[in-house]
Symmetry: C2
Subunit: 136 residues, 2 copies
Amino acid sequence: MNYNLPLDRNFVGSEAKIEDLKCHPPHPIETEHLEKFSGQILSSEKAQRMAEFFSLLGDSNRLRILSVLARQELCVCDLAATLDMSESAVSHQLRTLRVMRLVSYEKKGRKVFYRLQDHHVLKLYQSVAEHLDETD
Amino acid sequence: MNYNLPLDRNFVGSEAKIEDLKCHPPHPIETEHLEKFSGQILSSEKAQRMAEFFSLLGDSNRLRILSVLARQELCVCDLAATLDMSESAVSHQLRTLRVMRLVSYEKKGRKVFYRLQDHHVLKLYQSVAEHLDETD
DNA sequence: TGAATATCTGAAAGGATTTTCAGTAATTAA
DNA sequence: TTAATTACTGAAAATCCTTTCAGATATTCA
């Protein structure tokens, strides 16, 4: 991703109630403001857990794995062949998805079949897919 | 396995070819199934765009920035003070959020006030927050 | 039994991302 | 006008992630 859009520095400033928020001297006024809703700011701990969840879906190969498993359960080697990934890479990603309880598995002979476990992600997936369709 | 969700338009794909599958012996039953769905796998291009979107939410500091902006617009230095981040780090993150059109900004004097632009993310945000509350 | 297959694993390589650092520019205050 | 404040930026440092590589184990097949 390349984010190289310059900020528009010729922005026409509008009249504002700057007295509401002043950074200096060290935030006497807005500190009160911030305290008012500080109890509603996402805690670092919860932010971390949410970020981990979103990050799970933040990899194209993991998304493709999930999209295939949404259709049918598959063994590792079929997943690898279907997605054109190495079996080792697929296995590593499946472990991540396994640990985070997004997929479950069942061993059959020397193969291991994986399937979706968390159907909640499908709704997120669909929601974002539609969103991207809209804004394109 | 079909979970009966209208996902078909999300699966624009051509990557699954039965002859690519290399499990030995190839599974007769699964192979038939795969053929049925082979045109519906998430394409690499779309997977990439979806992954970029999810990755945006896959950082705890970006999530905390969004959670604060969900309550009120704020300038960079107040964001930095509130979130205990350097102003530079906040500025870098705001740029990515800006480029991806999740926030907009307005310059007032020497301050730049940021606010949420894409309220779609709030729904995703709340959805995952609730999900994590459930499963804890 | 020995060979082939399927999967998993840790470590290292190779990338990508995030923060810090140092500097610049614009605006305001003294 | 000069100093202070606010925000942005590129480059480097520090982190984090993903894949490859080189085995290891278990299962099936001939």
